[in-house]
């Protein structure tokens, strides 16, 4: 059902506030715009409380909005029905399901609701739970439960999949194979809207990264170009009599040469480093946290520790 609408998700001026006249209002989403093209993987990044989950839950039809236009697969989630729900898949945060059903029974029961479901056993194998297919949900580890959530989210063969912090609690190997799964789903034509705290996850998976802060989008681009060229300017750092100095420059080699020239007789520059801001650095500067490689940054101990 690839309609004439080229966008799987189109959001304009989305607003949502919580609170009451008595306790005061808080704008969770404050005029947010978002586009997701068919077949695209978009990662939404942002600090806790930035409005990510609120936005996603409005798109999923769980929450009402105060203002703005929202079209998900061409329909307004507020009024969308079962047909629409059959075309989306949702993997939510916070899974505390203590069911006595087995993994296979759960996935089978979920599959029954969809007109064109995937084979439950194959979906379970695809998320790496084949050995646990006959195990009760109650006994699963946190990571296994998360993978079951993913299985339940994709068993209906969704056109658009929402993944809300899907790899929280995964060990590195499980995360890696989850990434393979997401990539395979994309190759299958699934559009994916992902929220995550993990910058490496966004860099690995996303065609496009959207940074949300205080309920608005502050940046949107490919992971490689996020923040623009300016943000990726290398930083030269050195110690100057116990004080950390940094300099942002497009010509780091020249800067280093100058430092060497002005160094003491042994030509040694104490604590010399040349770093290119990572996606994480760019992200942190976008959301207003002090990045460790900021020009005026003084302390890079956290960076060394990381």
């Amino acid at each position: 059902m690839q309609t004439s609408d080229p966008l799987a998700v189109r959001v304009r001026g989305l607003r949502k506030r919580y609170g009451s006249t008595r306790a005061g209002f808080k704008n969770a989403v404050a005029g947010l715009d978002l586009d997701v093209a068919h077949g695209e993987i978009v990662a939404v990044l942002g600090p806790n409380g930035a409005g990510k989950t609120t936005t996603v839950e409005i798109l999923e039809g769980f929450r009402d909005r105060d203002d703005g236009e929202v079209a998900v697969l061409g329909e307004d989630p507020r009024h969308a029905g079962r047909d629409w729900r059959a075309r989306i898949g949702v993997v939510m945060q916070d899974s505390r399901d203590m069911s006595e059903l087995t993994v296979l029974e759960k996935v089978r029961a979920a599959a029954a609701s969809y007109p064109d479901a995937r084979d439950p056993a194959e979906v379970i194998a695809a998320v790496g739970l084949a050995e646990k297919a006959k195990a009760r949900t109650r006994g699963l580890s946190g990571g296994q439960r998360r993978r079951l959530d993913v299985a339940l989210g994709i068993v209906g063969r969704p056109e658009l999949l929402f993944l809300d912090e899907p790899t929280t609690g995964f060990d590195p190997q499980a995360r890696r194979s989850f990434w393979d799964l997401v990539t395979a789903l994309r190759d299958d034509g699934t559009t994916i809207l992902l929220t995550t705290h993990y910058l490496d996850e966004a860099a690995q998976l996303a065609d496009r990264v959207v940074v949300v802060r205080d309920g608005v989008v502050v940046a949107s681009s490919t992971p490689e170009t996020l923040g623009g060229r300016e943000a990726r300017t290398p930083v030269v750092g050195w110690d100057d009599g116990g004080v950390r100095r940094t300099e942002r420059t497009d010509r780091p080699t020249a800067a280093v040469a100058r430092l060497i020239a002005s160094a003491g007789p042994d030509g040694e520059v104490p604590g010399l480093s040349v770093t290119r801001p990572t996606l994480e650095d760019v992200y942190l500067s976008l959301i207003g946290e002090t990045s460790t490689t900021d020009v005026d940054g003084v302390d890079d101990s956290t960076r060394k520790a990381a």
Binding site: I88, M92, S113, A125, R157, L181, D188
Partner: protein, 296 residues
Amino acid sequence: MSTTKETALDKLDRRAGLDGRSTGAQRLPGTLRLGLVRGGVELLQFVRERDSVVFGFAYPILMLAIFSSVFGDDDPIVANGVPVSFAQYFLPGMVATGIMLSTYQTLALSIAVERDDGTLKRLRATPLPATSYFLGKVFLSLVTVLAQTALLLAVAALVFDVPLPDDVGHWVTFAWVFVLGTAAGAVCGVAYSSVPRSGRSASAVVVTPVLVLQFTSGVFFPVTELPGWMLDLSSLFPLKWIAQGMRSVFLPDAFAAAEPAGSWQHGATAAVLAAWLVVALVVGARTFRWRRHDDG
């Protein structure tokens, strides 16, 4: 692990067919069919939860067995010169209690817990109709209450020699009290499931009212022994009327005189149960939430 996964996904892709994604080509499964699927899920879940089987399902049968064994040798209970054994006197109250436990208590508890642990919200994200979810719940209630009542009557008749009615009239009364009581209990359970603020508080919040009502509704001892105000209060709730209706089925007609009104009050019973059914249905439909209290 990665090789298993890739072959599995290859299979997924192949299943998608030549034209790739066949979305929309097939129709959504019917509400009734999905209700049955949910019913199967509920039943499977129920029998695997041992504590619910023991405390909800077996409770009235255990109580009947214990009380009848303890008091069985005492003097028979007499009304208008007609004696009945303790087991016979106790049976209607246990049938009524069983109905409340299998409908109201099971539903209110399970829905409250499923709301708290996110199961409800998760289901909301799928094309499962709300009606199918409730059909599944009602299916479970119906199956358990039928099995429970049948077992209760069998134990009473075979172990404690309680004479069961042998005329159609009494069984007709049994049928309508049973159906109306079950229906009212089920919708009350759905409506009441929104009251507990969390899954952890649910069992206390849900179980306490039935427990208290058991003592004030003539289940354990005759309502005539209660203070007037307590009887009036209990008369507002369904359990008193279900128990009274069941007494009219399983006790000799002479016992009608021992009721507070001096009669079985079938009309009032039907009216009160029907009123609960309608009110709880309206309240339940208006207050039902897919999400927790603290979740927006």
